[in-house]
Amino acid sequence: MKKFTLLSTIAVLSFANPAFAEMDKMDHATMDHSTHAEMVMDGKADGAVIAKPGDAHVSVNGLVCDFCARALEKTFGKRSEVKGIDVNLETKIVTVNFNDGQTLDNDTLTQIITDSGYNVEGIHRVE
């Protein structure tokens, strides 16, 4: 049984190749964002954050656990540009509310969410 543990560990390590992990990263630039417009709420998002023009609705894959999704709140909370976020576990949309006159570009938003352990499916700006 010990041998099995060690062998299984080594086998799994072989899948830990960084190149393999990169397969999960979504190429945001190549995505069709047209469908995300339907998910945007130009007002209150899930009753918590009032989205205003320039704010971002980010569709995120893997957003199934409240306890885990707190990561996004913590991570975005460290950005001076961000006033607050709202996570909607039902629609899997994260609404990012920016401070007046400030924003983050789509690449930065994607990077923050990817670094938090999730995949970005698409980004829509509130108009």
């Binding site: 010990k2 543990t5 560990t9 799994v12 199934v64 991570t75 460290k78 899997k92």
Partner: protein
């Protein structure tokens, strides 16, 4: 001596081989995990420099085995599958430290210790499945293998910020003991950054876990 060498090599290999992987919790996050069951009381405090690795201190008090284990533990997220309605993960958990005898034949004895194992899970907002194994080497004092699995269901699907409730059953297998299967029905509750689990096993032993992220 050969076993010590093997453990050091294996643990060293794992730490080296996964050093380039991205971390486990969220970047710059701390987590405190305090777990108690029929076998042991443990505390694990770790820091995630990024979202694929955490490193921290692990303490385990094995009551019947009469020794304590102190280790530096590294957890690595080896693979994550993020799907629109589910997430699955494979983690490697490994530690290296010392074991310290606290009574019986092991009183005042200490030795090099190490452990390693794989943990996997899959969940959506309604169902949860996990499996974990671990081989522990405790020098001349002990060595053992154990594995456990869980299934869970959420009686209701909560929104962000709600109190989330899960009903779970954990089955733990310890091949080295006679009555080697322990079945523990438990309740998991979490809200915000607090997670509590409480249950009682088929052997009448209490399980109580608390996890806090900050």
């Amino acid at each position: 001596m050969i076993r010590i060498f093997t453990t050091l090599i294996v643990a060293g290999f794992m730490i080296t081989a996964t050093a380039e992987a991205r971390p486990v919790s969220y970047p710059d996050g701390w987590t405190g995990m305090f777990q108690n069951n029929g076998d042991r009381n443990s505390a694990h405090i770790h820091y995630s420099p990024t979202a694929k690795t955490s490193i921290g201190y692990k303490y385990e008090h094995w009551r019947d085995k009469e020794y304590d284990l102190h280790a530096v533990q590294m957890n690595n997220l080896l693979k994550r599958w993020n799907k629109p309605n589910s997430q699955a993960n494979i983690y490697l958990k490994s530690g290296l430290g010392v074991v310290d005898g606290k009574g019986g034949d092991f009183l005042d004895e200490s030795d090099v210790a190490g452990f390693t194992g794989i943990a996997t899970d899959w969940e959506d907002r309604r169902y949860f499945v996990s499996y974990e194994n671990r081989y522990t080497y405790a020098g001349d004092l002990d060595d053992f293998y154990q594995q456990s699995a869980r299934v869970g269901i959420a009686p209701y699907v909560g929104d962000y910020g709600d109190l989330h409730t899960w009903l779970m059953v954990e089955v733990e297998h310890n091949p080295e003991v006679d009555d080697n299967f322990t079945v523990t029905p438990l309740v998991r509750l979490f809200k915000d950054t607090h997670l509590v689990e409480a249950g009682m096993s088929n052997h009448g032993e209490v399980l109580f876990n608390y996890i806090y992220r900050y």
